[in-house]
Symmetry: C2
Subunit: 216 residues, 2 copies
């Protein structure tokens, strides 16, 4: 049966991958060894997922602008979705980069539909000989982001400049996330006001334009 929606794909991932063991093997000249280090698991899971998605009928086209948001355009059952694939070590709080703030701000103004990009997120736990897939989430942007202690949205700030938008611990405290897309875009506009940028669209105009389009 071919999958017709991302929700079906998510359900299938839960059924067939959740709780499963992962192993990383390095084979040189026919001599295989199992990796016991945690440092490469994230990169490996991040590489495995898109291949598995394609096995399951999802056509993925990588975004040609690597700096741009989101990573992929996914084609499933003839429908196209903006999509990101993420993973993180479940023993820690999720700290993956959602997007560079300035790039995201620019991109959403041009194409507000990208606010509805879907996040397929794999949580893994390292074990003695590999890892286990703890859970799999299919989320909207505003379901994984929220206000932080210091800023209107979880934000990595480097040398006084906004850098990456970061998730809240949505897996344990979903109530820390924004309530809806409206709360999310207001936080983005607030953040722009706190961190003005020469040449960027005015935050009020940005919010008005993006709101009008998404509420249509």
């Amino acid at each position: 049966m071919s999958l017709m929606s991302l929700e079906q794909l998510h359900k299938k991932a839960i059924e067939s991958i959740k709780g499963e063991k992962g192993v990383i093997t390095i084979n040189i000249g026919g001599i295989p060894k199992t990796s016991k280090s945690n440092s490469i698991i994230g990169n490996c899971v991040q590489e495995w997922i898109p291949q598995w998605l394609e096995d399951n009928g999802l056509k993925l086209e990588p975004n040609t602008h690597t700096q741009s948001f989101p990573d992929f355009t996914a084609d499933i059952g003839g429908k196209k979705y903006d999509m990101e694939v993420k993973c993180w070590n479940y023993n820690n709080s999720p700290a993956f980069d959602i997007s560079n703030f300035d790039g995201f701000y620019r991109e959403i103004y041009i194409n507000p539909a990208k606010l509805y990009a879907k996040y397929l997120i794999f949580a893994y736990k390292p074990t003695t000989h590999g890892f286990i897939i703890e859970n799999i989430y299919l989320k909207n942007l505003w379901e994984i982001t929220g206000k932080s202690v210091k800023y209107p949205i979880g934000l990595q700030v480097k040398q006084g400049r906004p850098f990456a938008i970061r998730p809240v611990p949505f897996h344990k405290f979903p109530e820390k996330a924004f309530e809806d897309v409206k709360g999310f875009i207001c936080a983005i506009a607030e953040t722009r006001k706190e961190f003005p940028l020469d040449g960027a669209i005015d935050a009020e105009l940005w919010l008005k334009t993006v709101s009008r389009i998404i509420l249509e």
Copy 2:
């Protein structure tokens, strides 16, 4: 036949691994995928080598002080060696960290015998589906280090402080390396003079002490 020296082990590595293909496989829930990214090859080779060395009769004891130099004490045929295992992408110049400068300076003063630590170095080249082991080197410290354009020894400098000692491209230009251990320790002392450090042993005293012991 059990190996009796590091030179024999190096010869065996050349015979059995040089030119061989490497593949990294990520298996989740019984579904294997081959890694095509270059970013994890270095980490994987670095993990595979010590396991292969142990298969071949080398007992490796990791240095308990992780900041300390070198990584391992190797026991082969009843003899003990200070040993480091390194790898790098042969398409680039080797840029692995040899040691933190300040830690190395301190450690060598206490234990000058560590100047004779052996470096087993694997060079790999990424391919479409994995990598190939291009060459394997067994080297002394002074055979992989040399004067750089700016400093008496190849050195990574961060915010005006010496950070990591770095190799010269010994694989292509062995003449860029120091001639002997004496040239190497003089360069270390010169570097200390250029970067004085409160509480560190005086460079002249360091050189005199280390020279006397290694020339005995």
